[in-house]
Symmetry: C2
Subunit: 727 residues, 2 copies
């Protein structure tokens, strides 16, 4: 138990040689980053403006030293002084009074150093941080990260500036502790009916302990208590909980949690130490998608598609959600409040899953605790992305240690339902494959530590789709409706539609004189991902906005139109994937949030936590029960025959009664559909509707056709779509 934390003032300085000393020292904040402690040295303090982020570039290639000094605290008999950190980024050496205590490569392992026996009257504690790890120096890009177990995204991505954080990024302190119980681990197994759980609690007690108790609490009430004599040494206790409440993902039940408290008592039965952990009981399987259980007829035979349907507590789930990326360029800046704001937005949309994308960091504890409490499923990737990570021993050594630390951080959370080795590793732009030792090792270590959680080596796998990332693809001359119409995927785990950010954001980051019209040669627009980020005009795509909405007269109009297209596109995708349930079992868009103010991005939430209109349209598309339609294309011409299919999507747990749907176009009823009962977790496909696209007023370049599906007695299931008609 922590008795007290020492107030310490840390200072930071840089040096060009490992063994030299900083010329000057600056006040340092924990958690943070070396860059954040140097903000006062920037010429342009708002580094998010224009290419201000480049001011940090020189900081990558120097050494950094943090230091603090403190007097020996007075410690009672069993008290010890620890230096404890949940994360230091990336390779570092910790020394006390000139003596090296730890040398480590890897930002995810907890550091926990007992300083007690090494203390002097006056103490000098230092953390020396090595320069940013780079496998080469030919050009600043993500391939420099391919020998480090460090998020590749900060080396530069099509929506992330080149800005590589270093330094103390998670909770860190000098603390006086009296620890009597150590390495407490709880494992459980559920009976087949999922009604009872057998728990095994293991750990180690220090001398001074006379007895231990294990207490299970549910909503603050003790539901099980067991006390037993225990002297110093390892312990292993089993308890059985009957009539358990399961942890359910949002929308399918309560995400019920238990607290497990292990308490240590001394000979006088005084409480001397206590460790709490949270447990959520759930059974996870990754199962074959319905419709993929049989081979095609004929020979030769190949294999069936890999499974990608999440089954929680024996119920198959349509996973709808988003790709989570770093909410800050500097992970040290991510606060609990930022996590809460973003996660509440995600839940509010109706999402039940977040894919924590492998290009970014592993999140801090608060993120996972929030997901546990709110039934948000987490697909956790290891920090490998779009690179060829090697088989060599030095990389594998770090990978093995760091992945164990990540599994310790994340694997005990009931919200963790899937491990993945990383992002797009089996694609040409990465170059890894099934034989790559890093992925074989990750599979192996996940199996050893959390056999109850499925593991996939990467996404996409066969049958899974990544992309498209555009509303309209000029290469294939298809819009998002056309792409969805031909999609036959078991899961869409990345796909997106871009939009400009709000005009106020753009005005803050782009110099006034370059704002409108946006030029593909404007450096400020370029570095904020409006142009040349991925393909030529991504992510702003002004020609696409013009194609569907006409010429914009000013920034505000262009932004409004671009965001409207994004909102429309995302709705088609989410509904389109749901319509294909249970063959398709996931719709996870690229991406949810963003780490800094982009000028344009596929994200649906702008930095720091501002929803785009797409959040509303996706909320519409994610209602548990709803009327839905699938359109073969987006834009129409007068006189064309529009045919579209009708659906009732029921991803709730309850059956919905038979009813009647009325379909109108521009307010005129064109057909009705008397539909039968729809079982929970089922999609009912209805009849095809066919009608002639009406002629529009010649004055309008582009007008909208409003198609409404109205369900008698259930206005909350109604759906309204707007499709443009080209004059």
């Amino acid at each position: 138990m922590i008795q007290a934390k020492l107030n310490t003032n840390w200072e930071l300085g840089f040096h060009t040689e490992k063994d030299s000393l900083p010329l000057e020292w600056n006040p340092a904040s924990f958690p943070g980053a070396v860059q954040l402690d140097m903000l006062h040295t920037l010429e342009e303090p708002d580094w998010t403006r224009s290419d201000g982020f480049r001011q940090f570039r020189w900081m990558e290639d120097v050494w950094w030293t943090y230091k603090t000094s403190f007097n020996r605290p007075s410690l009672s008999g069993s008290e010890r002084l620890f230096f404890s950190s949940k994360g230091i980024d990336y390779a570092f050496i910790i020394s006390l009074n000139g003596r090296v205590l730890l040398q480590q490569e890897g930002m995810f392992r907890h550091v926990d150093l007992d300083l007690t026996t090494r203390l002097e009257e006056k103490n000098d504690l230092r953390i020396q941080i090595a320069p940013v790890p780079k496998s080469h120096h030919e050009g600043d890009d993500r391939s420099q990260a391919n020998r480090a177990f460090k998020p590749a995204v900060s080396y530069g991505w099509d929506w992330h500036p080149r800005l590589v954080p270093l330094g103390v990024w998670d909770e860190t302190s000098l603390e006086i502790r009296r620890d009597f119980i150590h390495e407490v681990r709880t494992r459980y197994s559920l009976d087949d009916s999922l009604e009872s759980a057998d728990l095994t609690i293991t750990g180690r007690a220090s001398s001074g302990v006379q007895s231990l108790s294990v207490r299970a609490e549910f909503k603050g009430m003790t539901v099980h208590l067991k006390e037993f004599e225990q002297e110093a040494g390892e312990f292993r206790e089993s308890i059985k909980l009957e009539d358990i409440k399961l942890w359910w993902p949002a929308g399918l039940g309560e995400p019920d949690l238990y607290e497990l408290v292990v308490s240590a008592f001394d000979a006088e039965h005084h409480l001397i130490d206590e460790q709490r952990s949270t447990i959520g009981f759930r059974k996870i399987r990754l199962v074959r998608n319905t419709g993929t259980e049989q081979e095609d007829p004929g020979f030769p035979k190949s294999r069936l598609l890999p499974p990608i349907t999440l089954e929680i507590n024996n119920r198959k789930i349509f996973a709808q959600g988003s790709n989570w990326v770093n909410p800050e360029v500097f992970p040290g800046m991510i606060s609990d409040d930022r996590y809460r704001e973003l996660l509440e937005l995600a839940t509010g949309i109706g999402f039940n899953i977040l894919r924590v994308w492998g290009g970014g960091i592993v999140n801090k504890d608060f993120f996972h605790e929030w997901c546990d409490r709110n039934g948000m499923m987490v697909w956790q990737e290891f920090p490998l992305a779009c690179n060829d990570y090697p088989d060599d021993d030095s990389y594998l050594f770090v990978l093995k240690s760091e992945s164990r630390a990540i599994i310790e951080r994340v694997g005990q959370h009931p919200s963790t339902v899937l491990w993945s080795g990383g992002n797009e590793l089996f694609n040409s732009w990465s170059g890894m494959d099934d034989q790559s030792l890093p992925l074989r090792w990750l599979n192996s270590i996940c199996l050893e530590l959390t056999p109850e959680i499925p593991f996939i080596p990467t996404s996409p796998l066969e049958g899974i789709g990544h992309g498209h990332y555009l509303f309209y693809d000029p290469l294939s001359n298809e819009d998002i409706c056309q792409i969805m119409a031909r999609s036959n995927h078991t899961a869409l785990t990345e796909y997106g539609v871009p939009s400009p950010s709000d005009a106020e954001i753009i005005r803050r980051i782009i110099p006034q004189e370059e704002i409108f019209p946006p030029s593909p040669d404007s450096m400020a627009w370029i570095v904020h991902h409006a142009f040349k980020s991925w393909q030529d005009d991504t992510w702003l795509c002004p020609e696409v906005i013009e194609k569907y909405c006409g010429k914009s007269r000013n920034l505000e109009e262009m932004v409004e139109r671009g965001q409207k297209l994004q909102a429309a596109g995302y709705r088609f995708i989410f509904e389109g994937a749901r319509q294909k349930w249970p063959y398709c079992s996931m719709a996870i868009n690229w991406c949810f949030n963003e780490p800094w103010p982009a000028a344009a991005n596929n994200s649906i939430v702008q930095y720091p936590a501002l929803p785009k209109p797409a959040c509303d349209s996706i909320r519409e598309a994610c209602r548990p029960v709803m009327a839905s339609a699938s359109f073969p294309k987006y834009q129409w011409q007068a006189g064309e025959i529009l045919k579209f299919d009708l659906f009732i999507l029921n991803h709730s747990c309850t059956d919905t009664p038979a009813g009647k749907m009325t379909i109108t176009v521009n307010g005129v009823e064109i057909r009705t559909w008397e539909f039968e009962e729809v079982k929970g977790n089922t999609v009912l496909k209805g009849p095809q509707v066919e009608f002639l696209v009406p002629t529009q007023d010649r004055d309008q370049v582009i007008a909208d056709m409003v198609i409404a599906l109205k369900v008698q007695g259930h206005p909350e299931w109604d759906s309204i779509y707007e499709l443009p008609i080209e004059a």
Copy 2:
């Protein structure tokens, strides 16, 4: 070191209850099987005749006890008496003088029991064998094997009778030993140039040892010797060998081997123990197939195909070979001579790989030693096949122990180039998938023990083909040429063409009165896999023989024609796969051998080791350098236009010079091809040849068109094909 083996007489009896005793005892032979010791009890001694194998059926469900008695041998100071066995099938209990020494489930773990301290004047040693493991008793089929780590094939397959062996199946003895060195393991790593090897030898020495030596020998010459003081305890020595000779697969270089000898000496420098092991230095990778390195254009993106090209010592290899199955129903009967005969046949054909199919046993040591010495690559599957092996703890416990034992047996052999979890596990008829814990554990244990050997979870994987297994498929109305023409696989790892066995074999196993014409209702033909084995008329396929060759007048004619069709079909397949190199990197036919006299089978070698004519045609198709053609179909009609492509296949290590090929049909020259130099390991595609199929003599129902490719100056590269013309 073994000092002596005790002569022991073993006896065997059965009992219906675990704890009862046999009513009578029969002499037992080691290695063997309980069934073989009971042969004298059979009514029909030739159990391979008709359905004679059914006489063994009752033996599955009783208990068996082996026993022997022996007097305490006189043992000098450091001598010990061991009961040692390389394999006892399947679940058993070993007891000495009524006291249980070992209880084990699993036939691949070596048993090594030190009996010394438990010996009495007269000793009674027993091995109690449990009944055949079965997960259910509803019908005799392979699904009964789905909870056991035991070859599923013996539960009945479409070419294997239902006959499940039990008992002592590998070398077993009571031996007096003096062991001073234990658990010797050698690991090596090669430098990038593959010119030197760093070896690490670890082990444990017993008390009495004063020094150890490590000696490396090459072709009987000592190339490295290191001696060092060593007392009791663990040791770890490193040596470096320079200018090493690599182990190469057959046809690509010498399969050079080193011997590593660890010797123990006492205080007087007397040799007191010695352990020898064989090492072959090779680097193995499983790499992406050429032409699969880039995604198709367009979105969504999926993953690239898994790699299936073997690269040995940095050279990509076209793997040509066959599926190896049990050469005997009773593995205890497989002798070194049987292995040698069969393996010499395989090498003689030009094969460089055997897939040791997961439905069968793991072979005895001689098999692997022979493959080491002769450059035959071994793809070793674990004994899982066509079943859904469970995630439950009791199965996983056996799997983990037994798979470690298999890796110990097989993994040190240089010929072992690929692990596979088992056969067709990702198909609907098995039901496992990427999440199945048995396969995740096998991957993990292989990685831990032999990270240098690639692992695939099963075959087929995406891109790999299994089947077809017929010369002509009535369902798709395609012959083997047509199927090969549309095949676009990275590897063909199972495919076959059936044929009848030699008439003499058939006359031995089918009652005289049922022999001709073969009736699909004849029980003897059916149980010998001529009918109803897989599809209706497999494997005899009399209608296909008639379709291409006309009505047969007697057994001998039908056999000759069926074997001719098989020979032709296999040739098209092997050449067809080679023509697609390097996109296609493997041609491994189903199957090489067979465990008993089948009436008809896809095998190319008949029981026990009699080659079919297909061996000759495949030898033609597997010549390192050869002229080759691909035909769009097999049978032609007069007046059709036959178009076929020409190739030079060069899978040798050397470039072949430019030259000239002349193509004749029925002796008439129809075209020449002046071809350029062909690099080693390369296929050159030539022009398309086109000609009018000639009219045949009206009297002949079917006549052959003889197409010859002749290469000037290289008759050994010539190829001649016969295609039938239907009148």
